[in-house]
């Protein structure tokens, strides 16, 4: 079975929320109330202290089984989800479906039913098709929560949340911030989730900086200011988010060469000086050093890239414990 955009349909907030407004699935940031985002950030804040315990575990999801359903390869996202689940005392099952049942001709729904029959409680879904997590959320048994760990070019909401969590930790109030997202916006589900999160949190200004060929046609509808010139777009920003150039998703000649891309859109120390002196530099990883970001910037004092990875665990713990709480 293939999942078309049509089957995925629009992305209603009500699929994600219970009647009382609590989080049931976490599929996309788009359409969620601001308070839900703030609740996630506040809850994540309290999970940070779990790392200070000598036993780095809390018993919230004891007896629950979390399944990482990865139809697309990933190391960092799967690992941090796995670690987050384990720190909540859940049991974790990792299924790499790309190399498993679906190649034997089993349909996605059959795969789902089989895993459901193993008494699981939560599916973490990554899939190359946009809308895959929504499709699964519509069809799972009612006690199962679905978390989107990246679907096609649509959304990567936990990454978006950990990015705004990292920004809030360093900068506080979003209403005073200028944030620039630089690079391959077209292929980036991360950028889309970041833009929705930043706008829902009332960020003063969200900019995207990219060549025309790497911007979606309807980019302005997302509520961003578009810049094609890096030197203009970086002026006075508080946060610079660099995106990975997604070479594996590029089917057409969208770029002359990586070398040329770096010349125009690569983040160097020289260019970073255009941003505010206290600006932070972020990257969702894995970074292509020398393609979108210079090594000395990625490892430099303004970089919070590794902090993003640590924060990813706390944010995912928060979301997992919110969707599993008070199910009755």
């Amino acid at each position: 079975m293939t999942i078309t955009q049509h089957q995925a349909g629009p992305l209603p907030a009500k699929l994600q929320l219970r009647e009382d407004g609590s989080l049931r699935h976490f599929l996309s940031i788009e359409g969620l109330p601001r308070q839900t985002l703030i609740d996630i950030l506040d809850t994540a804040e309290s999970f940070v202290s779990v790392h200070a315990q000598s036993v780095k575990k809390v018993p919230l999801l004891r007896g629950k089984t979390v399944v990482n359903l990865f139809f697309e390869p990933s190391t960092r996202t799967r690992t941090t989800f796995e670690l987050a689940a384990k720190r909540l005392s859940a049991d974790v099952l990792n299924l790499n479906i790309a190399t498993s049942a679906t190649t034997k001709g089993e349909s996605l729904l059959d795969t789902l039913r089989n895993i459901e029959a193993m008494f699981c409680d939560m599916f973490i879904v990554r899939h190359a098709d946009s809308g895959a997590a929504h499709f699964i959320a519509r069809h799972v048994a009612p006690h199962i929560a679905v978390l989107n760990a990246g679907d096609g070019q649509h959304a990567h909401p936990t990454q978006g949340m950990l990015d705004v969590f990292t920004i809030r930790k360093h900068k506080g109030d979003f209403t005073r911030l200028k944030v620039a997202i630089v690079g391959d916006i077209l292929h980036s589900r991360v950028a889309r989730s970041q833009i929705h999160a930043l706008n829902i949190l009332n960020t003063n200004e969200v900019r995207v900086i990219a060549p025309k060929t790497l911007l979606p046609a309807d980019v302005e509808k997302l509520g961003v200011h578009v810049y094609h010139d890096m030197n203009e777009g970086l002026k006075d920003v508080d946060v610079v988010i660099m995106l990975r150039l997604q070479r594996e998703r590029m089917q057409n000649a969208l770029l002359p060469s990586e070398h040329e891309f770096f010349q125009f859109y690569g983040l160097t120390n020289e260019r970073l000086k255009l941003a505010r002196e206290d600006a932070i530099v972020m990257h969702p990883g894995p970074a292509n050093r020398g393609v979108e970001i210079a090594s000395d910037v990625a490892d430099g004092p303004q970089s919070v890239i590794l902090e993003q990875v640590s924060n990813g665990i706390a944010v995912r713990m928060a979301i997992m414990s919110m969707v599993m709480g008070a199910q009755q």
């Binding site: 996630i40 809850t43 009755q328």
Partner: protein
């Protein structure tokens, strides 16, 4: 209200001092349970002249009713600013009722390390234990009806009131 909070704290301070003396406890560390217990802990710490700051436990992640009522989003993190391993701990809460909070707090404490001992101090003890939990240090004991609860406000001034819930439908 019968006794002022100050009188309760003074009594608890005296009882703590003799408990520590009787049991050979030197240099106890204080941990208060968020939020009311943390206020009482801070007040006791000052009276006992303990210099190192009090720790705060937020037991939300260790509660036994998470699957029924879920998480309260505004949980503030636990903060234990000292190494628990081998320490004598004075665990402080405002009200001892079912005992479930103390069960959760002990579980959390042991995830930070293995203390030498834990002494439980509560400002108010009331009936209704559902677990075998007892406090060594007690400010006062109140006889309350099931529909009554103790409401603590603070930290300054630290006060308590007895509230009566309307009969639920």
């Amino acid at each position: 209200m019968t006794e002022s909070v100050n009188e309760l704290l003074d009594k608890m301070t005296r009882d703590c001092q003799s408990w520590f003396a009787d049991n050979g406890i030197d240099n106890p560390q204080i941990i208060g349970i968020h939020t009311g217990g943390a206020w009482v802990a801070e007040a006791l710490r000052k009276r006992l002249g303990i210099e190192s700051p009090a720790g705060t436990l937020n037991i939300t992640f260790y509660r036994d009713d998470y699957s029924r009522i879920g998480l309260h989003p505004q949980v503030s993190p636990s903060d234990i600013p000292f190494d628990i391993e081998g320490q004598h701990l004075l665990l402080v809460d405002d009200v001892l009722y079912t005992g479930r909070t103390i069960r959760a707090a002990l579980n959390e404490i042991f995830d930070y390390g293995r203390p030498a001992s834990v002494t439980l101090a509560v400002m108010i003890e009331r009936d209704g234990r559902e677990l075998p939990v007892a406090a060594q240090i007690i400010g006062t004991r109140l006889e309350l009806e099931n529909n009554q609860q103790v409401k603590i406000t603070g930290p300054d001034p630290l006060e308590y009131n007895i509230e009566t819930r309307e009969a639920s439908v």
